[in-house]
């Protein structure tokens, strides 16, 4: 599975599909807090889009566009978002992950919870995205 399949159809179709997949992933992430979906699912779909590209366009080409290092950074940033959203309420008198205490002015507790979940789901989405790509790279890579 290394290198391009050198098949115009496969390549073209994947290039065409990937934006749609990613848009859908974003939709899944951003609607997770009030409908079916969420960070896990969206993250997986995002990762799937990257994997599709790696399979169809070849790893060497793909690694330049979305490098394994970037995947690690994405995962780490995701967890940071989660951490900040989780820990901030502590400073304002709430419990861990109690978004009602997020320091955003002008919002009621319910609204804060609503948006807090979105923030955390975004973080989770990034983590899953990054982690799955790392896993994929590790499994496909020739040498550890």
């Amino acid at each position: 599975m290394r290198g391009s399949l050198e098949n115009v159809v496969v390549e073209g179709v994947s290039r065409f599909l990937v934006p749609f997949i990613q848009i859908f992933a974003l939709y899944v992430i951003t609607h997770g807090h009030y409908g079916p979906g969420g960070g896990f699912q969206g993250g997986v779909i995002l990762a799937a889009s990257i994997m599709l590209l790696r399979l169809s366009l070849g790893e060497e080409y793909e690694h330049r566009r979305f490098s394994p290092t970037l995947a690690t950074v994405v995962a780490a940033v995701g967890i940071l978002i989660y951490a900040v959203a989780g820990l901030l309420p502590l400073a304002w008198g709430g419990n861990f992950l109690d978004y009602a205490y997020l320091p955003i002015p002008g919002l009621s507790a319910a609204e804060l919870r609503y948006h807090g979940i979105l923030i955390v789901e975004t973080g989770v989405g990034l983590v899953v995205w990054g982690t799955l790509v790392i896993l994929f790279d590790h499994l496909m890579g020739s040498e550890p």
């Binding site: 780490a76 419990n95 861990f96 109690d98």
Partner: protein
């Protein structure tokens, strides 16, 4: 201070990811962050322990959701005690690990620390959570990082790690299955809540299934004979620092989970009278003590010997749990602490030996006593403690276990405890003899073998000294912490 229960695992969890980021900038940053994260978590645990001793338990509701709806974290005497032990020993080993990892697997430096922090996060998570399913999640976090960490070792490590993974996953799945039965019977996942609803359901077969599955799973994670098969290989092939980290605390945390299930979830009455699982654990443990000791005697590889000795020592904990009387349980809990110190010290000594000589054959350790005096002094203290020579710590856990067995009138357990300390003496004195009494022959030990650098020596010696300190202060620990834990049994 009320946030302590959540801060303990979360600090570790987040530092795991910060390590990934920091490691890109500078490799040693990973080590620094790990050390800071570990120490912070230890400070939180110690503060938690202090808070619990002085003012009773802490309960924490994640996200402000009240149980049974929300996930609850709780620090009581038992969990605060455990998390202090785990974070303390973990941090000391982290301090130790830098040079060892740099020598053995330098190319994995940053991920190793990230994984180690994940492992600690998982273990502390298991300890502080009061939610049955959350416990599963942390169990898997810890196990997954352990599989990955162990696989980095020598040639055969991935195979050993894979076996561990298969068995560990079976254990994890069994546990979830058991929790499923509990959940569908009681409608709750919160430990205290489940405990409250269980007495009405004692007749139910679903609860029998749940208890059996959960204890099999935890027994496997704890490496309680005969579910120990994964342990020797996994411990022997992993990098020194990894074994040093995993061996002293991981199985202990599983033992903690067993105690938690016994005391908090199912309640002693159920597991002693209705479904007598505790005696079963006790008898398997008694068999395991002998099995581990005898197998340890048969080993020629120092680390493998320590691995089998672990099986035997864990079985001591199992025996204490199986006795299910206050003395026995105190013995088990004290042995968790003592053995964590002793085994950490011993595995660090093994790491030091490997660091300087590159091998572990017992027959080739001759003359190291003079070349590595401090390392071997730490080894001697821990070995004597393992045998149960007072006033080293190991003696006192055996003392309580002995009193517990006498109290229960179980003379076979009494004989087991006593005989096994002789067996332990056999395999440790064999090593001591090599180390001190034989002169090094040519080409067995490098001429320049010496004590390792301070960053490795300090934790080793500190743990060795800790064994003595714990021994002398054991009554303080027992009376201020453990007595509270076993209160419900009295």
């Amino acid at each position: 201070m009320s946030h302590l229960p959540v801060l303990i695992p979360v600090t570790l969890l987040f530092s795991a990811f910060i390590i990934l980021l920091g490691g890109f900038l500078k490799r040693d940053l990973a080590f620094m962050i790990a050390l800071i994260g570990g120490s912070l978590s230890f400070v939180f645990s110690a503060l938690g322990l202090w808070a619990v001793i002085s003012g009773g338990g802490l309960r924490y509701h994640l996200g402000g959701w009240v149980p049974p709806v929300g996930i609850e974290y709780a620090l009581d005497a038992l969990s605060a005690f455990m998390s202090t032990v785990v974070t303390l020993v973990g941090t000391l080993v982290l301090l130790y690990s830098r040079r060892s990892i740099l020598q053995e697997v330098p190319e994995r430096f940053v991920p190793m620390y990230a994984l180690a922090m994940l492992l600690l996060a998982g273990l502390t998570g298991i300890i502080v959570t009061a939610d049955l399913f959350n416990l599963f999640v942390f169990l898997e976090i810890a196990s997954l990082s352990a599989y990955a960490l162990m696989a980095v070792g020598d040639e055969r490590a991935p195979v050993a790690s894979f076996r561990y993974l298969i068995l560990g996953s079976i254990a994890g799945s069994f546990y979830v299955l058991g929790v499923g039965f509990l959940y569908f019977s009681t409608g709750s996942l919160n430990m205290a809540d489940v405990a409250q609803r269980l007495p009405n359901l004692y007749g139910s077969r679903a609860i029998v299934a749940a208890a059996t599955l959960i204890f099999i799973a935890l027994g496997l994670k704890m490496a309680l004979f005969p579910l120990h098969l994964w342990l020797p290989d996994a411990y022997s092939y992993a990098p020194s620092a990894v074994t040093g980290l995993i061996a002293p605390i991981m199985t202990k945390v599983a033992a903690y989970a067993v105690i938690r299930m016994f005391l908090t979830v199912f309640q002693p009455h159920y597991l002693l009278d209705v479904l007598p699982l505790m005696p079963v654990i006790g008898w398997f443990a008694a068999a395991g003590i002998f099995y581990g000791s005898i197998m340890a005697i048969a080993q020629t590889d120092f680390r493998r010997m320590l691995a089998y000795s672990s099986i035997s020592q864990i079985a001591y904990i199992g025996l204490g749990i199986g006795l299910a009387n206050p003395m026995g349980l105190i013995g088990a809990l004290l042995h968790i602490l003592n053995h964590a110190f002793m085994k950490a010290c011993l595995f660090l000594v093994a790491g030091n030996i490997r660091f300087r000589t590159g091998q572990w054959e017992v027959s080739r350790l001759a003359g190291l006593g003079r070349k590595m005096p401090w390392t071997m002094a730490a080894f001697t203290v821990s070995a004597l403690s393992m045998i149960g020579i007072p006033p080293a710590a190991g003696f006192f856990s055996k003392w309580y276990l002995l009193l517990g067995s006498v109290d229960a009138g179980n003379w076979i357990f009494v004989a087991t405890i006593l005989l096994s300390s002789l067996l332990t003496a056999v395999y440790f004195f064999r090593v001591l003899e090599q180390v001190y009494m034989r002169h090094s022959q040519e080409e067995t030990v490098p001429v320049n073998a010496a004590d390792p650098p301070a960053s490795m020596l300090f934790p080793t010696v500190l743990l060795g000294a800790g064994v003595l300190v714990l021994g002398l202060s054991n009554n303080l620990i027992v009376s201020s912490i453990l007595d509270v834990v076993v209160m419900s049994l009295k």
